[in-house]
């Protein structure tokens, strides 16, 4: 194991975050605060509690994921796309490192940043609405797992993309809408019959349900399904990345 290389990539990626601190941290925090002002405080005060949880508190897990999932994808994808775009990828390819080590470095850094972001949003939310987390350890572990899975997905995106537009496309056009419609602002039980059926095809519904369960111990779907789905996503992404490195797809001639 080339630990120094993993550390070098990891630190280098986090340094990139510090360099763009406003973009990386401030803007998601501000947009989340706006959601809380609008949905949490203004509208939320007129909404009924859902399963005994106040509306303001109910939307917290979904709002955290809204940012965490998109940021995990864009961060990791940007992290690996940038050296490809700049040509500095030659150094990674010529270094004595394995695919796994490269992944740990890039995905680890992107996931770390997302987890920090998630915690910051959590703290921000706490300023607007009072709530208690029922399973704090599980909540944290699940946040780590989701960040890692989506960062890995972003890593694949960054290897596949051949332009900056494509990098932004997936987080903006796929992840963000699916999260929005995935039960961030409502319980899927509130949807009329056919829409509920359709919603069940959205994988992010399960992730938000699972994450909300760790917060309030309420779930319309079994948390085990959420966990199984997340682990499957992780496994698929990992297999794809390993295949990419084996074949040198988009990396080596």
């Amino acid at each position: 194991m080339n630990v120094y290389a993993i550390r070098a990539i990891y630190i280098n990626e986090l340094n990139r975050t510090w360099r763009t601190l406003y973009q990386s941290i401030a803007s998601p925090v501000i947009s989340t605060a706006l959601y809380f002002v609008v949905f949490g405080s203004a509208i939320g005060s007129r909404m009924q509690a859902i399963d005994g949880v106040s509306y303001g508190a109910f939307i917290v897990p979904g709002l955290i994921l809204l940012t965490v999932l998109t940021e995990s994808v864009s961060n990791a994808s940007f992290g690996i796309y940038l050296p490809r775009f700049l040509g500095t990828i030659y150094e990674l390819l010529s270094a004595p490192i394995s695919a796994t080590e490269v992944i740990i470095g890039f995905v680890g850094a992107a996931a770390t940043k997302s987890v920090i972001l998630g915690l910051i949003i959590f703290a921000t939310a706490r300023l607007f609405v009072p709530f208690e987390v029922v399973h704090p350890v599980l909540a944290f572990l699940y946040l780590v797992l989701l960040s890692t899975t989506f960062a890995l997905f972003g890593f694949i995106l960054g290897l596949w993309a051949d332009g900056f537009e494509k990098l932004n496309l997936i987080p903006m056009m796929v992840i963000s809408p699916l999260t929005f419609l995935g039960g961030t602002f409502y319980s899927i039980d509130m949807l009329p019959g056919v829409w509920r059926q359709i919603a069940l095809f959205n994988p992010i519904v399960y992730l938000i349900e699972g994450f909300r369960w760790t917060f309030y111990d309420i779930a319309t779907l079994a948390p085990v399904i959420s966990l199984a789905l997340t682990l499957s996503l992780l496994a698929v992404c990992f297999a794809v990345v390993v295949w990419i490195f084996r074949t040198g797809y988009r990396l080596r001639n």
């Binding site: 040509g87 500095t88 030659y90 990674l92 010529s94 270094a95 004595p96 080596r252």
Partner: protein, 308 residues
């Protein structure tokens, strides 16, 4: 001497079917400075790319200090430093960050003393905290060299190191190559500037259209393929070559004022001595003797041209 690099029957066919290397065999001794000469598109960058892990070989075998580049890629790559042909840098990093990153990537603990030495050698020390984006092109190239040396490699590859580089950097670079050689580092450079090979290299390989057409020690190459043209300026016009000079294979210029001959190889002293003796003995006066050695450039054009 041990071989630091051994390449056997290496071929490369790109995805589009283009055959960039057609079975290259080459061994490089440790501590050697080797220049790979060849026109654009000859396959120099492809060859280096394969050794360094950027390009997959189609067939053949490469070992670095006994380590196979595929099977023992970690050991093999750790011994190699690469300065690529293209200027690829991350504009937002500082110089020192970039160098520290490179060393880490190659699996070594940070060594501030080594960073300082390398950056001082390349006149980058006072710029260590500057962003790379703020540096000039020449300085960026120095940064790439510093990154390649950050992990103390045993072999340094310089791909077209002086293309578009100022005189000062060129001088510093050769100074650095000499220092590396003293430490036993092997340097392999590609170029199509022949003076570079002529000044620096111990051995020269010529590659054209994916084939290594010649590998030879530099002086031997000059001797074997080089030629010397000697011209003797006369004080009085000669109407024709005198009979007693005819067996020396001389040319007389049309104005009758210059005698000349061309000698293959590096040494023409015997022939010139004999000629001058004859001239003195026959009372033919001369006012100048000039000799001009063909450069590697001429040899190279000759070699590559002959293959077309």
């Amino acid at each position: 001497m041990t071989n630091i690099l051994a390449i056997e029957r290496l071929t490369k066919t790109y995805d589009n079917g283009f055959v960039a290397l057609k079975g290259v065999d080459l061994t490089i001794a440790q501590g050697e400075i080797f220049a790979l000469l060849g026109p654009n598109g000859a396959g120099k960058t492809t060859l280096i790319g394969i050794v360094c892990g950027l390009v997959r070989a189609t067939s053949g075998k490469v070992t670095v200090d006994g380590c196979d580049i595929a099977a023992d890629y970690r050991e093999a790559r750790q011994k190699i430093g690469l300065v690529p042909q293209e200027l690829a840098t991350n504009q937002f990093e500082t110089v020192l960050e970039a160098v520290r990153f490179s060393r880490g990537l190659f699996g070594k603990a940070p060594n501030p003393a080594h960073f300082e030495r390398v950056l001082r050698d390349l006149s980058l020390w006072d710029k260590k905290d500057q962003r790379i984006g703020a540096l000039s092109g020449g300085m960026k190239r120095r940064v790439l060299i510093a990154k390649a040396l950050a992990h103390e490699p045993q072999i340094l590859f310089l791909d077209e190191p002086t293309a578009g580089v100022d005189v000062e950097l060129r001088r510093d670079m050769w100074e650095m190559v000499r220092r590396l050689r003293e430490k036993g580092v092997t340097v392999i450079l590609t170029t199509h500037y022949i003076e570079e090979a002529e000044d620096m290299a111990d051995r020269i390989g010529v590659i054209a259209q994916g084939e290594l057409i010649l590998v030879e020690e530099k002086h031997a190459l000059m001797r074997r393929l080089g030629q010397i043209r000697v011209t003797i300026g006369l004080t009085q016009k000669l109407d024709a070559l005198p009979d007693h000079l005819s067996d020396l294979a001389l040319d007389l210029t049309p104005d009758g004022m210059t005698l000349a001959f061309t000698q293959k190889g590096e040494d023409c002293d015997d022939r010139l001595g004999a000629l001058l003796k004859t001239l003195v003995a026959r009372g033919i006066e001369f006012r100048s003797v000039n000799s001009e050695r063909s450069s590697l450039e001429d040899i190279f054009i000759d070699l590559v041209g002959r293959r077309r």
